[in-house]
Homo-oligomer: 238 residues x 2
Amino acid sequence: MVDFKELRKKNLELTKKAVKDSVSKDLLIVQAVNSIEELTTVANMLVNRLREWHGYYNPEFSKNTPDNEEFVNKISKAPKPKDSMGADLDKPDLKVILDLAKQINSLYELKEELTKYLETSMKEVCPNLDAVAGSFIGAKLLSFAGSLKNLSEMTSSTVQLLGAEKALFRHLHGQGKSPKHGILINHELVLSAQFKEKGKVARALADKIAIVSKVDYFKGEFVGDKLRKDLEKRFKND
Amino acid sequence: MVDFKELRKKNLELTKKAVKDSVSKDLLIVQAVNSIEELTTVANMLVNRLREWHGYYNPEFSKNTPDNEEFVNKISKAPKPKDSMGADLDKPDLKVILDLAKQINSLYELKEELTKYLETSMKEVCPNLDAVAGSFIGAKLLSFAGSLKNLSEMTSSTVQLLGAEKALFRHLHGQGKSPKHGILINHELVLSAQFKEKGKVARALADKIAIVSKVDYFKGEFVGDKLRKDLEKRFKND
C-alpha cells in the first residue's frame, strides 16, 4: 500500500528545495537596483524638507548650494552670513535639523554602497549585458523583464520598449505616437544622439541587448566589449 | 534732498529684520511634525523592500515578525530554520540587505528623537493645545492652519474639519455626506467613542481646541488640564 504520509513529506521537501533553488543572483540584482531607486526618491523627499526647515535658520545657504548632496554634506559647517535673514535658533531647535541632515547623508552613503554592489554583481552575473547597457540600465532591464531568463527570451523590439509600457498602451488605445525607447533613453549613446536619431540608436542598442542577454543566460563567451565598440563606432558623436 | 541710496539701505535692513522676526517656534513645530510623517512613509516604503529582498534568504522570519520595527531590529540576529525555503546567500549578498536594515533602524531612531522634540516644544509653545489635543494632533492642527496665529483665529467648526478638506469639498460639490472630523478622528477620545457618537465628540473637542489655541496665542494661563478633564468626564467610556 502507498504510504501517503511519507509521500506528502517527500513532496514537501522537494517543493521546498525547488523554491530554494529558484533564487538566482539576477533576482538579487533586481532588488538592489529597485532599492537604489527608492533611496533616491526617499533622499529627495527628505532633502526638500531639510531645505525648508533649515531655511528658517540660514536661507542663504540653501540658495547658494543647489546640489542636494553637497547641501546635506556641508550643512553642519555652513557659515551663516552676518546680515542673514534667518532667525537665530536655540541649540535644541538646530540639533534636530542637523540630525535629519546626518540621516540623509547616510542614505546617500548606502546608495553608493548598493551601487558598487550592483556593479560587481552585474559583472559577475551578466558581464555582456553590463558591457553593452551599463550596470544600472542593465539591472533596470532585468527588473522590467523580471529575470535574466525572461529578458533572454524577449525580442529586440520588446527590449527597446521596456520601461515605456505606459506610452505604448496609450498608443495602442489610439492616443499619442508609438514610443521609441523606454529606459534606454537614459543610455549615454541615446542621450548623446541628436533628437531625430534617438529612435534609431535605441533600436540598434536593443538589438545588441537582445543578443547579449541570451549570451549571458547561456553563459557564453564575453563579447560585450566588441558589441559595445561596434555601437560606439557607429553612433558616437565627437 | 532725499538720500535714496541711504533710504533703500535702511529699508532693506528693516525688511530683513522683519523676515527674521517672522520665524516663530510654532513654524518649527510644523516642520518637525511633517518630518515625522515623512519619516514614517519613508520607513514603510523601505521596510517593504527589505521584506521582499530578505525573503529570498529567510522568508520564515518575515512571516513570523509582522511588526515592522521589530522586524528591522531583530533581522541581523534572526535565526534561519534548518528546513528554510530561503536560498543560502553569499556574504556580500547578505551584507547589503543587513545594511539596508541598519539604515531603516536609524530612521526609526530619528523619528523617536523628533517625537520627543515635538513633545517638549509643544509643552513650551502651546501647553494648552498640547494638553487637550495631544502633541502630535496639536502639531498637525498647527500644520493645517499654517501657524498658531491662524489656528487661534479659526472658529471651532473650522477646527473640527481641519484635515478633512477633500471630503468637505466633495460634499460642497454635491458628492457624499458632510465630514464630521478631520485629523481629530485620531484623537483618543474620538477613537474610543462609539460610531454614532464620534461626530459629537469631535465637535466638543473642536470647541475646546478653538478656546485653548486662543489662550496659547495670547499666552494666557494654563487651563488645558481642566478642559481635558471636562471632556474626559463627559465622553470617556470605561
